[in-house]
């Protein structure tokens, strides 16, 4: 793959809702082609970090650089155009639209024929092809997750942000989701995952970060992180 460059770099990010700061200076980076997991106990600011990167929350300090573009405080639609996609934790699909329409919405900014993208998504999630005209709201939880991820992949993003992709799924479905994530990554998309299921997501990751109440405390290679006693102590206070 040649010399790996940083596709995303977050430096000293500070942000929060109302007047409470949730992130107090987070710094992470993702190299091109990597899968990176962000783990940490509840309330450590994992989802908030995702939202801030994608422009859904205005940063109060620090910088975010994506593929050499400064995207600090840039709106989501511009971020999408630069080649980043985001699957939020909840409501990751349009319930009253059909599967096909959900996927089309993912390619909204493209005006040309999107059948190639559709074929690509169907190749990853064959189940979606058969049920194309069913309303997404009527699908099972696992299928809805596929719709959500499929929608985000329609533009062949360079970087995919996944917020808790395995939450609320049955074990079989979880396995499927993590499998698909590796598959997507192998096809060339860098991936940033926020997960509670730290073991599983670190298992497929190149690197991982551990967040604690809005600061990053540890960084390490995949599952090695979980061998660190300090990390374990963080979860239950030792």
């Amino acid at each position: 793959m040649g010399a790996k460059v940083n596709i995303l770099e977050v430096r000293d990010l500070v942000t929060g809702y109302t007047d409470l700061n949730i992130l107090h200076g987070i710094s992470i980076h993702i190299k091109s082609g990597e899968i990176v997991s962000i783990i940490g106990p509840n309330g450590s600011g994992k989802s908030t970090l995702m939202k801030a990167i994608f422009g859904l929350l205005r940063p109060r300090g620090g910088a975010i650089v994506f593929k050499d573009h400064d995207i600090t405080g840039v709106k989501p639609d511009a971020v999408v155009r630069l080649g980043m996609s985001y699957v939020p934790q909840e409501k990751e699909f349009f319930p009253s639209l059909t599967i096909l329409e959900n996927l089309e919405m993912g390619a909204f900014i493209r005006d040309d024929d999107i059948s190639d993208s559709l074929e690509r998504i169907y190749a990853i999630f064959p189940a979606l092809k058969e049920k194309g005209h069913i309303r997404a709201g009527a699908l099972s939880g696992g299928e809805q997750r596929m719709v959500g991820i499929g929608r985000a992949l329609m533009l062949s993003p360079d970087l995919l942000l996944l917020d808790e992709p395995s939450a609320g799924l049955a074990p079989v479905m979880r396995d499927m989701v993590f499998e698909k994530i590796t598959e997507v990554n192998r096809a060339g998309t860098s991936i940033l995952i926020v997960e509670q299921n730290a073991r599983r997501s670190l298992g497929i990751s190149d690197r991982g970060y551990v967040l604690e109440t809005g600061v990053n405390r540890f960084e390490g290679r995949g599952l090695e992180l979980l061998e660190n006693e300090d990390v374990l102590r963080l979860y239950l206070g030792g």
């Binding site: 994608f54 859904l56 989501p76 639609d77 999408v80 155009r81 985001y86 939020p88 409501k91 990751e92 699909f93 349009f94 319930p95 009253s96 639209l97 329409e101 089309e104 919405m105 993912g106 909204f108 900014i109 929608r151 533009l155």
Partner: protein
């Protein structure tokens, strides 16, 4: 039978005018009290074009176009800036009342408060199962049917239609998907007001037009929206027909003057018993 036909005619007008009210209610999350006055505005533009010698068909198009232009102007000058300020729902509602007053009185200012008719030949109605139907009534029902069908195609086939539905489904995800939310909102206005305008012109075909006609349509429209479930276009259409029918059928037992009250009663009952609307629809 006569009442059923009258009800269907009025009902289909209420239905197509109320769709815009419903879509804006859901997408922008406020009740546009000026919606009825856009309906009246369209009727008057058609009247103006018609009486200055234009054929009614072209006057119809001119009216729709003018209403859309006005609506887009309002979006740019009022609604969009207010959204950027994060104005509350109640602020928007009160502004819409102000706008309603302005629009209605501009009509009164220019054309006076009396009733007017289009400059079209009066044709005799024909018998149909003991009822009389005028050609204009037939025209209204056909036009409404075509418009609803066109709307259905637009919402289910075109990209812009799908994104309008996406927006009322999940506005955050729409933003995440890179949808230009402001542009889609503009299209929502265009389609909603276009339908409202068409309804206004058609209304002029079956009855006389008055500056306050929008005001009197407002309550039936609200009733249709609430009946059909806010943001559900198909529910709104059904709601409109039901309101139209119940208004006309009520005249069999009640004085004609109370037509208007029927929609009020229906609406209050729905609010009491099933506030999310009888055709489902998100709350």
């Amino acid at each position: 039978m006569q009442l059923v036909i009258n009800g269907l005619v009025i009902g289909s007008i209420i239905a197509i005018t109320a769709i815009g009210l419903s879509m804006i209610y859901k997408t922008l999350n406020f009740v546009n009290f000026a919606h009825g006055d856009f309906v009246a505005f369209a009727a008057y533009i058609a009247l103006f074009a018609n009486t200055s010698g234009m054929h009614l068909a072209s006057a119809f198009l001119v009216a729709i176009l003018a209403t859309i232009v006005l609506g887009v102007f309002m979006e740019k000058v009022v609604w969009h800036p207010m959204r950027r300020k994060n104005a509350s729902r109640t602020t928007l509602i009160i502004i819409s009342i102000g706008l309603a007053l302005v629009l209605r009185n501009i009509l009164i200012f220019i054309w006076g408060g009396s009733t007017r008719n289009y400059n079209i030949p009066v044709r005799r109605g024909f018998e149909f199962f003991g009822a009389t139907i005028t050609p204009n009534q037939v025209l209204v029902i056909i036009a409404a049917f075509i418009l609803v069908f066109a709307l259905h195609c637009l919402l289910s086939r075109t990209k812009i239609g799908k994104s309008i539905r996406a927006l009322s489904d999940n506005i955050d995800l729409a933003r995440i998907s890179g949808i230009d939310v402001d542009r889609v909102i503009l299209w929502t206005w265009v389609i909603g007001l276009g339908l409202a305008a068409a309804g206004g012109v058609l209304y002029g075909l079956v009855t006389a037009i008055r500056p306050d006609m929008g005001w009197y349509l407002l309550l039936p429209m609200f009733a249709a929206v609430i009946l059909g479930g806010i943001g559900n276009p198909y529910g709104t259409i059904a709601g409109g027909i039901i309101i139209g029918l119940s208004q006309e059928l009520s005249t069999a037992v009640l004085p004609t003057e109370y037509k208007f009250a029927v929609s009020f009663v229906v609406m209050t009952l729905v609010l009491l018993l099933k506030p999310e609307g009888i055709f489902g629809g998100a709350k």
